[in-house]
Symmetry: C7
């Protein structure tokens, strides 16, 4: 498996049915269609100017919404993952 | 529902009638037409260089004016929301 | 009314007669014609890297000169206001 | 009169005769023809990241050379002034 | 051999068979095809604003995934190496 | 004379014979032909984020090599000077 | 000779035979062909935001690999030198 570097996370994309009761619909009109995925691994966090390391806010299993353009796609054993900087996560789906 | 990440907020757009008594009219001439919306969720705040976390200044229920270009639009159960960085909020409507 | 966010201010534009005895004339030749207006509301100030909040230097009632391109225009009950970052204020008219 | 904001200064342009004994000639070939002017007002200075305010180095009456592109021109009672960031001052004429 | 400078690392590229059991396939569609390689040397780390030196997180022998555009390629005794800034490492393959 | 502002210096250009024994030849092929000059005045230095002022490293009389594009040219009593930011000095000729 | 300024170094270019047993071959395909050279002088180092001066990591006599685009070329007594910012050094050849 992948251990993301620094303040990055690895996300497994969740395929959305266009219209579902309670599902999240990501309108095409948006500047960059945000996508939904599940966090499968988190990095060691970000080192600040004063040397402190700030842990990543999300944890494995969280479902998040993020801007697709920010990540790098990679396929492992047939599954597509996105490696993403923590700051490109828009929100956690509760 | 969505829990915005870091110093972001989730806003539900308020549809403006073009001309209303006391309503806010956002002239098209403006560089980027600001829009009005109600805050429905706020993130955990921004982490500064020295590690302190500064909470988001607005709270759920506040009505705010913001620059539309800054946010990412998302639709949940038929309602359109904008996920926005706190710094793109121009003002709170009192 | 509007409560500006962070280190922003709300300014009501003052319409200038082209040539007035003590009035300020803003020549078109200038890169971006600065305009004159009265401060009607100030934000909570700017949060520095070390967490301290620096209050906005101007106060309600001050007449200021600023670069028009910096602000966002908004109309409330027929009056045009500009929401502006504090750093786009050029000077206070004494 | 104008009270410049933060680390800005207000300068009254000094009109140069093309060639004068001891006068400063600003060759057109220069990337941006620097100009000469007298400081008529200084701002409160610059607030650093740690909250300290650093006063502006020049004082009223100093004659300075600066890059014209940096300032904003404004006319008050027939006299042309430039509002300029302190960092665009190149040198003081002693 | 090469001792990378500051917060850089030297990576020996690992040639990927297009489809292998358990192998990582890097889809061409990705904005910039990430590549895989083995760390052969690490620099002394990054000096922060307060003077502390933060060691590089990976060590010799780690297999990493990184964005190809970030590095500089160099060939030594017939083997191709990439010299890369630590921040361009996306993840470590565990 | 000119007193340079902050971390600037004033340099008097030294005209180079194309080929001189021991002279420095500045090949045209270089991205921006560096030039040679003598320091005639130095500013008060640079104010850091924590308020400390770091004096300029060169002193009057030093001969330096610098990138021409960085400075602003000015002529005083028939002599051409360049006003330059300290960081555009490449080296001191010993 | 030249004393480089601040965190710069002076490097004497080492001319590479295209293919040598242990020599480093710098493939043209690379974004910017890195080159090899010997350090002949180092500057006083970099001043950080808190005022501390961090010495340059390499020393006279070290052979380094660097990105050619970063430096400024200068010829002294028939020998070509490059004046380079420390951060443009990719690695030291051990």
């Amino acid at each position: 498996m992948l251990k993301p570097y620094g303040d990055r996370v690895v996300i497994e994309l969740v395929q959305e049915a266009p219209q579902t009761r309670g599902g999240i619909v990501l309108p095409d009109s948006a500047k960059e269609k945000p996508v939904r995925g599940k966090v499968v691994a988190v990095g060691s966090g970000k080192v600040l100017d004063n040397g402190t390391r700030v842990p990543v806010e999300v944890k494995e299993g969280d479902v998040v919404v993020f801007a697709k353009y920010g990540g790098t796609t990679i396929e492992i054993e047939g599954t597509e993952y996105t490696i993403l900087n923590e700051r490109d996560i828009l929100a956690v789906v509760e």
